[in-house]
C-alpha cells in the first residue's frame, strides 16, 4: 500500500507540475538617478528622482499621447501621465524603502513631477519626493520593486549626489545586479529560493555616512 501511495502521489505530482506555474520577468526597466536634498536641520528632506524608462515601456506608456501628432512628445502632452504615475506610485511607496530592520520611511506628496523625452521618445520621469521622518545625518535607502515587475538600476557614473548635507557626509550607491538575472550563477538560484521578498536581491542600495 505504501508503494502504491508513493506511485500515486508521483503521478499526482506530475499533474501538479503541469498545472503549476513559474514566474514572470520584469516588464519595466528603470534607470534611476537621485539627488538627496538635505534640510537646514541636517536631515534628508527630499529625494529628487530621475527615472528613465526602457524603450518598450516608454512606447506603451506614451501610446496615443502625441496630441498634436507632430511625432514628438512634449512635456505638456505627458503631464497627465506624469500625474497619474506619481499618484499610483504612492501605493508602492515609490519603490523606496529603508533596509530591513530600519524604521520605515514616511513620504509627503511628490512635487515637481514631469516627463522628459529623448529624441527616441523614451520617457524620463522627474519627481521630488519629500521624506518626512529621516534622522539627522546618515541614512540608508533601498530602491527596488519587491515583486520585480519593475527592474530598477542606478545610472552609470555618479547616480546619487548630496545637496546641503552636513559637512563631511558622503554618499555611496550600489546598483542592483540585474544582469545576474540574465546570467544566473549558483548564488542566484540560491537567492531565488530564499523567500517572498523576491525583488530584494535586486535592490539598489544607497547609503549616506556622516562623521
Amino acid at each position: 500500500m505504501i508503494a502504491f501511495a508513493r506511485r500515486f502521489f508521483l503521478a499526482a505530482a506530475l499533474s501538479l507540475f503541469a498545472t503549476g506555474g513559474a514566474f514572470a520577468h520584469p516588464h519595466v526597466f528603470v534607470t534611476a538617478k537621485g539627488e538627496l536634498i538635505y534640510g537646514a536641520n541636517g536631515a534628508l528632506k527630499e529625494i529628487r528622482y530621475t527615472w528613465s524608462f526602457d524603450e518598450m515601456f516608454s512606447a506603451f506608456a506614451a501610446q496615443g499621447l502625441d496630441a498634436n501628432g507632430d511625432g514628438k512628445l512634449s512635456r505638456e502632452e505627458l503631464q497627465a501621465l506624469a500625474k497619474e504615475n506619481v499618484d499610483s506610485l504612492k501605493e508602492f511607496a515609490y519603490f523606496t524603502v529603508s533596509p530591513r530592520g530600519a524604521k520605515a520611511l514616511e513620504f509627503g506628496e511628490p512635487a515637481d513631477y514631469w516627463f522628459e523625452t529623448d529624441n527616441q521618445n523614451n520617457l524620463t520621469l522627474h519627481f521630488t519626493l519629500p521624506v518626512k521622518n529621516a534622522p539627522k545625518g546618515g541614512i540608508a535607502i533601498e530602491v527596488y520593486d519587491p515583486t520585480y515587475f519593475v527592474a530598477f538600476s542606478l545610472a552609470d557614473g555618479k547616480p546619487v549626489s548630496l545637496q546641503g548635507a552636513p559637512a563631511g557626509c558622503a554618499v555611496d550607491a550600489k546598483t542592483a545586479d540585474n544582469a545576474a538575472a540574465n546570467n544566473p550563477s549558483e548564488a542566484f538560484f540560491q537567492q531565488l529560493q530564499a523567500g517572498a521578498d523576491y525583488g530584494a536581491q535586486f535592490a539598489n542600495r544607497i547609503s549616506v555616512r556622516c562623521p
Binding site: 499533474s15 514566474f23 512606447a59 506614451a62 544566473p184
Partner: protein, 322 residues
C-alpha cells in the same frame, strides 16, 4: 469501503493540486515565489529574450530582413515565457485531467489557446491603438475587462465541469454500492480515462464529441486574456511604424507559447494516465469511481483557479501593468 479509500485519495489529490495552484496564482500579476533552479533558469532566459526584442524591432525597422531575427527571438521568448504565470497552462491542463486526457486533445487545445491569446492581443492593440489612437490607459482598461470576463468564464466553466463530473461520480457511487458485482466490462486493455464512465449520466456526452465544445469554451476563457509581452511588442512596433512586423512577431511568440503549453499539458495527460494505471492495478471494479474522483477534483481546481485569478487580480492592480 473501497469507495471511501479512493475518494479519500482523490480528495487528497485535490488538496495537493489546489495548494500548488495557490502558489502559482500568487505569482500571477507580479508577486513571484520562485521554487527551483529550473524556474530561475527559465526566468533568466525569458528576461534576456524580452530585453533583446526591442533591439530586434528597431533592427527590423532599419533592415527588412531583420524581421526574421525578430520572429525567431519572439518564438524563443514565447517558449520560455509561457513557463511563467498565465497563458492558460493551468486551465488547459486541469481541463484535460477533468475531461478525457488524450495527447491529441492536449495539443489541439494548447495550440488553439496560444493562437487565441495572440489574436486577442492583436485585436486590442489593433483596435484600441491603431484604429482609435487610444492611450495605454484605454488599452489597460480593455485588458482589465477582458481579464475579469475571462476569469469569470473560467469559474463558470469549472463549475459546469464540477456539476457534470460530480453527477457522474454520485451516480457511480450509488451504482457500485447497490450492486457489488464485478464490472468485467470495465477491464479494457487500454488506459483512456474516459473509458470508465459507464455509470455516469449521458455517457456519450462525457467521452464523445462533447469535448470539442467544452474544450472550445476552455480555449475562449483562456484566450481572452492577452499576454502582456505580446501587447508590449505590438505597441512598440506600432511606435516604430512597423505594426505588421509586430503582428508577425506576436504569432511567432504564440507558436513558442503553444509548444510549452502543449508540453505541460502532455505532462498532465501522462500524469493522469499513470494515476489511472496505478489505480487499475489496485482498484479493480472501483476504478470508475476513483477516476471520476480525480476528474471532479480537477474540475474543482479549475473553478478554484478562476477564483484565485479573479481575487488575485483584483488585489494586484499594478501601477504600470495597465
Amino acid at each position: 469501503m473501497h469507495n471511501s479509500r479512493y475518494l479519500l485519495i482523490g480528495f487528497v489529490a485535490v488538496l495537493v493540486l489546489i495548494a500548488g495552484q495557490a502558489l502559482a496564482a500568487s505569482a500571477f500579476g507580479g508577486p513571484a515565489v520562485p521554487t527551483s533552479g529550473i524556474s530561475g533558469w527559465i526566468f533568466a532566459q525569458q528576461a534576456a529574450f524580452y530585453r533583446s526584442m526591442s533591439a530586434a524591432v528597431m533592427a527590423a525597422k532599419a533592415n527588412g530582413t531583420a524581421e526574421f531575427g525578430l520572429a525567431w527571438l519572439a518564438f524563443l521568448y514565447g517558449i520560455f515565457h509561457a513557463a511563467g504565470p498565465g497563458h492558460g497552462k493551468a486551465v488547459i491542463s486541469s481541463y484535460l485531467i477533468a475531461d478525457g486526457a488524450t495527447v491529441t486533445r492536449g495539443i489541439v487545445l494548447s495550440v488553439a489557446a496560444a493562437l487565441a491569446q495572440a489574436i486577442t492581443a492583436i485585436a486590442i492593440v489593433g483596435i484600441a491603438a491603431v484604429i482609435l489612437g487610444g492611450t495605454a490607459k484605454a488599452m489597460g482598461s480593455t485588458v482589465r475587462w477582458l481579464e475579469i470576463t475571462a476569469y469569470a468564464g473560467i469559474i463558470a466553466f469549472g463549475l459546469m465541469l464540477v456539476w457534470r463530473k460530480g453527477r457522474a461520480l454520485i451516480a457511480a457511487l450509488r451504482s457500485s454500492s447497490h450492486h457489488a458485482h464485478d464490472h468485467a466490462h470495465h477491464d479494457h486493455n487500454h488506459d483512456h480515462a474516459h473509458c470508465d464512465h459507464s455509470h455516469g449520466p449521458e455517457p456519450s456526452e462525457l467521452k464523445g464529441k462533447g469535448w470539442l465544445k467544452r474544450g472550445f469554451a476552455a480555449v475562449v476563457a483562456v484566450g481572452l486574456r492577452p499576454c502582456s509581452g505580446a501587447i508590449f511588442i505590438l505597441v512598440f512596433a506600432l511606435s516604430q511604424g512597423i505594426f505588421a512586423i509586430g503582428v508577425i512577431a506576436t504569432f511567432a511568440m504564440a507558436a513558442g507559447t503553444a509548444i510549452t503549453v502543449a508540453a505541460i499539458a502532455l505532462i498532465a495527460v501522462l500524469g493522469k494516465g499513470l494515476a489511472v494505471r496505478i489505480l487499475k492495478t489496485r482498484g479493480g471494479g472501483q476504478l470508475g469511481v476513483a477516476v471520476l474522483g480525480i476528474e471532479v477534483a480537477a474540475a474543482i481546481l479549475i473553478a478554484a483557479f478562476g477564483v484565485l485569478l479573479l481575487t488575485g487580480y483584483m488585489a494586484s492592480e499594478r501601477l504600470f501593468a495597465a
